[in-house]
Amino acid sequence: MTAAVTAAPPAPSRLADDDLDLLLLIRHFELALLDMFGRGELHGTTHTCLGQEYVPVALRPLLADGDHVFSNHRGHGHYLARFGDPHGLLAEVMGRQGAVCRGVGGSQHILRDRYLSTGVQGESVPVAAGVALHLRRAEPGHLALVHLGDGTWGEGAVYEGLNMAALWRLPLLLVVEHNGIAQSTPTSAQLAGDLAGRARAFGVAHTLVTSTDTNTVRAALAPVLRRVRERGTPAVVELRTHRVGPHSKGDDTRRPEEIGYARAQDWYARYARAYPEQFAAHDERQRRHVAEVVREVAGRPASRWEEAGRG
């Protein structure tokens, strides 16, 4: 396992244009946010998924509208992959009209159709188990997917939810984006044993994916989702990934070699090198697209929160 991670990653495969577009949309969206924060144009905080964009992109065609997705604090990519709606998300982050949650939720608290994110780590696992309990009975073949980080496995709620999901044979899929760190704390300092063991402890299937290549990841995930749907039983997928940016705005205290290592694994630069022509055109297009989104949304008036929607 360790070997797979530390070896130089194999050359990326060529991506379909729409996958590449989505990857780059997410990338430029996140870069634009950090940029705006840097210029003091945003308040509050945000967690970008730089380096991890391929996870939701790989998952996208594997998910049906009827599936529930639970995202977390690092959720912009998850949202964009599901809805392709940078305007609504940026408006949410900026508190402008057209915000998907009227600016109330902000970056971390989003609900749209069957997509939900919230800000307390681990809380979503039992909640998703509850959704899966309903799905099993009312909509067999659909699943509830939870994105969570490696650090979130510190929370007891994860185990309570996983236990019930396994006991009751619920279609719950935990997608762990294991980026080796939780805020500033390396995994070795926060997680004893490993995730494979944590899944197996509950009799739950575990799949390790070390590739950051969208096609490869998708191919590895497809049978897992199929099994969760067909058997209606939970599964854990562990994706070894790399947090290329800071935890939130500018709080990266990793040593330069650690950051350098994460950067070296980044799909972005590697894909640019492998497919320079395809990349350059799409990259430029998405960069401009996001810039345009930023310009347009920044010009909107402040969001409104009508009384009816208030608690």
Binding site: H68, A99, V100, C101, R102, G103, V104, G105, H109, I110, L111, L116, T118, G119, V120, E123, V125, P126, V127, A128, A129, G130, V131, A132, L133, H134, L135, R137, A144, G156, A157, E160, G161, N163, M164, L167, W168, S303, W305, A308, G309, R310, G311
Partner: protein
């Protein structure tokens, strides 16, 4: 004789599950033949094995599962075996279920109720005897109700589930074994009716509902005890005390209480909670603010001591609120002592 409160509650759950195929009931040890630690859920799992589930020991997780069911448009009732353990679900209640009703910028109905067997006087000791209602007052989006011998449990639970706001339902453990009051009759002296905007407040009176020396407000768990005190006050001290029992503790229906309070000019709130940050303090503040001029004395609060609740009966008594404490408080307020 009317049915026991636990039977009324059990029948309420039967009826709710029969009426609503999207309603689930979750909790530890609640399937048959055990039927729950207090036998509230007897017979339910036999009729609806798919929707009445015994869970592992995971109070936080169970409430999370209920939140997920609610999010998916279903309804869920959770039983926490002893309300003391609802502390383990505080995050799910505060930060997920209640928040979700509003934090996504629009009203999201969250139809779940967490049932909490509550209170002392059974010798279960410090971690199995608490009355934690007060700690949940003032969570935006959350409703608190308490079981009472005056309020039909089916109506109360249906109301909670229908509201779209998550609810906690506190059930005094001793009250389970008491009988429901019915047909407006408490005993040969006292009658009751339901008042307030939605008939949420049970009003217990003697002779004339518009006439009393003092208003005594209690949650349902103290209703039987409050009636006994009112009786003693009448027979022993010639004090006419009207007992008001709201089913909903939060948000407060102050309007349902104010007329009686304004007429009497005196109010006592009694509850089993230990001292500090009580429900009564919140009620008192509402009354002080809204009927300042009509009050002849500050609202008087009666509650248990600022103490852990001991196991041994003779010690438990020294901490938990006693009928004599309530009696004394009303008498002092009325006589100005």
């Amino acid at each position: 004789m009317a049915e026991r409160v636990v039977e009324n509650l059990n029948q309420a759950l039967h009826a709710l599950l029969a009426d609503d195929p999207g309603l689930y009931l979750l909790g530890e040890d609640l399937v048959d033949p055990y039927g729950g630690a207090f036998k509230v859920t007897r017979g339910l799992s036999t009729r609806w094995p798919e929707r009445v589930l015994s869970t592992p020991l995971s109070e936080g997780g169970i409430v999370g599962v209920a939140g997920g069911l609610a999010l998916a448009g279903q309804r869920a009732i959770v039983e926490i075996m002893f309300s003391d353990f609802v502390a383990l679900a505080f995050d799910q209640i505060l930060n997920f279920a209640s928040k979700s009703t509003a934090m996504y910028g629009r009203a999201v109905p969250m139809r779940l109720v967490v049932r909490c067997p509550t209170g002392g006087n059974r010798g279960y000791g410090p971690t199995h005897s608490q009355s934690l209602q007060k700690h949940f007052v003032g969570i935006p989006g959350l409703t608190l109700c308490e079981m009472s011998p005056f309020h039909d449990n089916r109506a109360v639970l249906a109301g909670l589930l229908g509201s779209g706001r998550p609810g906690l339902f506190f059930e005094d453990k001793v009250l389970y074994t008491n009988r429901m009051y019915a047909d407006g009759v408490v005993d040969e002296l006292f009658r009751y009716d339901l008042v307030g905007a939605d008939g949420d407040v049970a009003r217990v009176w003697v002779d004339d509902p518009e006439q009393c020396d003092c208003v005594l407000v209690v949650p349902g768990g103290l209703a039987v005890r409050a009636v006994a005190v009112a009786r003693e006050l009448l027979l022993r001290d010639d004090i006419v005390c009207q007992v008001l029992v709201p089913s909903r503790l939060w948000p407060l229906d102050v309007d349902g209480l104010l007329p009686a309070v304004a007429r009497a000019g005196r109010m006592v709130v009694a509850e089993e909670s230990t001292a500090g940050g009580t429900w009564g303090a919140e009620l008192a503040q509402a009354v002080h603010t809204r009927r300042w001029k009509a009050l002849r004395a500050p609202v008087r609060l009666v509650h248990s001591a600022d103490q852990v609740i001991p196991t041994a009966a003779h010690l438990e008594r020294t901490v938990l609120v006693q009928d004599a404490d309530i009696h004394r408080a009303v008498k002092e307020v009325v006589t100005g002592a």
